[in-house]
């Protein structure tokens, strides 16, 4: 793990990296937190993201990236402990509380987070947002799910396809 110290002017302190969102906002964050992203981890191990370079993330806007980093910073210490086998119950409860609060967000933000977690390959976040969506649509009929997630009204073709499926799988939620 002997990543080369790039001249980021943080002698002695934790190594920092810079991430650049699609709308050109720069975020400076501890390498350990950014490394929760499998995608970024390799770049960071190669010494990227330090100094004035920064790692461009053309798929993630600044609002989403700041949210993603909030998650990473919170979860980095536990992740550094190898999944924190020795974490106290209090720590775990605190993370759980944070997670619940974290996904209590607008749907469009949630969607952006799903895409960001997917693109950046942040496993814990992927699981968290998937769980949130699953909870939102659990026990609902296909039409109710469409309404919950704000799908547009089905086109006649879509409606016909849905009807056919509903007929084929007669057990669907009505």
């Amino acid at each position: 793990m002997a990543a080369p110290e790039s001249g980021d002017g943080n002698n002695g302190a934790a190594r920092m990296v810079t991430l650049i969102s699609s709308d050109n906002t720069r975020f400076e964050v501890e390498a350990a937190a950014a490394s929760l992203s499998q995608t970024l981890q390799l770049t960071i191990l190669d010494g990227g993201g330090g100094g004035g370079d920064g790692i461009p993330l053309p798929n993630v806007d600044s609002a989403t990236l700041s949210k993603v980093l909030e998650y990473c910073i919170k979860h980095a210490p536990a992740a550094a402990n190898g999944g924190a086998p020795n974490a106290t119950a209090v720590d775990r409860a605190e993370l759980e509380r944070f997670d619940n609060e974290f996904v209590n967000i607008d749907q469009s933000v949630l969607y952006s987070l799903i895409m960001a977690a997917h693109n950046l390959e942040i496993e814990g976040l992927q699981s968290l947002v998937a769980k949130k969506v699953a909870d939102m649509i659990k026990g609902k009929s296909p039409m109710e799910i469409r309404r919950t997630l704000g799908f547009p009204d089905p086109t006649p073709e879509e409606q016909a396809e849905m009807n056919a499926h509903m007929l084929e799988y007669g057990w669907a939620y009505e």
Partner: protein, 353 residues
């Protein structure tokens, strides 16, 4: 019909390009464009019933995603309330769709007592390796009919299905509803009681003579039931009766079990016995238990035997004794009794074959 999103924004995607933020896309529409990977993760959290009844029918792309075989590798149809409210034919039809969609990749199927012999055959013929069911004694008989050659039976459940108890409760309710006076119920004789406790054991003894491995942890059987099994399953090599509170470990029992290679009467012993079949499948929170099963399957895979008749694929694999050098026999297990109540609580509600 309240739509939460604003459809007016559909057209103003002026800056849209390949890497544009999803925010610039029309609201609502984007959920149907969710890539397969995140969508699969959502489906995994939902479980098979919800996919079949709701999410898997939402739109064209979600229907397609719901047919990804990877989603159907581990199918748990035990815990959803729909299982208890739909009729058996419907639930079995859903199970068949699950099996079909797995495209031969299904590794384990967890079921409630809705399973029919027809479904059992259907799943078996597609090579599903692990199959888990809750248990009425009739189920053993039914298995005995379709698969008399069954060699491994693993059951581990929280509460054993007590048909007698349920029947009594129903009768009582019926009497109450009809305004009958509470009838004085006959005290159950000791014989009747023992016969009731051994219902499962007798069914096994009656139907499954080829068993090599039997786990019936937490079962209500008594020594009598156990002897019936030992008598009628002469090839039995591996027996787990931990948490069976009615079994008394005495000299007779020890003598009778002396020929077994592995005999476990307490969960503690499982750690000492190097037998691949003594691993318990247990359902942890959320998806964690899937890993557990995978591990279990790996262990089974290692002990796979070639002399399987092959007609059922890997389903119900033969048991083969452990062969690696550190598989020395465990400590003297016969001195441990299962009367320790500490071990009665952590029992799970799944049956496995």
């Amino acid at each position: 019909m309240a739509r939460q999103m604003r459809d007016g924004e559909v057209a103003d995607s002026d800056t849209m390009d390949i890497v544009a933020s999803p925010l610039s896309q029309p609201p609502g529409r984007y959920w149907s464009e969710l890539p397969l990977d995140p969508l699969s993760k959502i489906f995994m959290k939902l479980g098979p019933i919800e996919i079949l009844m709701g999410a898997g029918l939402v739109c064209h792309s979600w229907v397609a995603a719901a047919k990804t075989p990877e989603l159907w590798r581990f199918v748990d149809m035990t815990s959803h309330k729909v299982i208890f409210t739909k009729d058996i034919a419907t639930v079995c039809a859903m199970a068949k769709v699950a099996v079909d969609r797995s495209a031969g990749q299904m590794e384990s199927f967890w079921a409630q007592k809705f399973v029919t012999t027809d479904l059992l055959d259907y799943i078996a013929s597609r090579g599903v390796r692990v199959f888990i069911l809750p248990h009425p004694a009739e189920f053993f008989r039914c298995i005995g009919q379709v698969r008399p050659e069954l060699k491994r039976l693993r059951i581990y459940i929280e509460e054993w299905y007590d048909s007698d108890q349920i029947r009594r409760e129903m009768e009582e309710e019926y009497r109450r509803n009809c305004g009958y006076e509470e009838e004085t119920e006959d005290e159950e004789s000791e014989e009747d009681w023992e016969a009731r406790q051994n219902e499962d054991a007798f069914a096994i003894a009656e139907s499954l003579h080829e068993l090599r491995v039997l786990h019936i942890a937490g079962n209500s059987l008594t020594n009598k039931g156990l002897y019936a099994i030992l008598d009628s399953c002469p090839h039995l090599e591996c027996l787990d009766i931990s948490e069976c509170s009615h079994v008394r470990v005495n000299n007779e029992l020890q003598d009778r079990c002396a020929k077994l290679k592995h005999f476990v009467t307490s969960p503690r012993q499982r750690h000492d016995v190097h037998c691949p079949d003594l691993h318990i499948i247990r359902k942890e929170e959320d998806e964690d238990y899937l890993d557990y099963i995978s591990e279990d399957l790996d262990l089974r895979g290692e002990s796979e035997m070639d002399d399987d008749d092959g007609s059922y694929g890997n389903y119900w694999q033969d048991y083969s004794p452990p062969s690696s050098p550190d598989d020395a026999p465990g400590p003297d297990l016969s001195k441990v009794t299962c009367d320790d109540t500490r071990f009665y609580t952590d029992i799970h509600e799944y049956y496995s074959l």
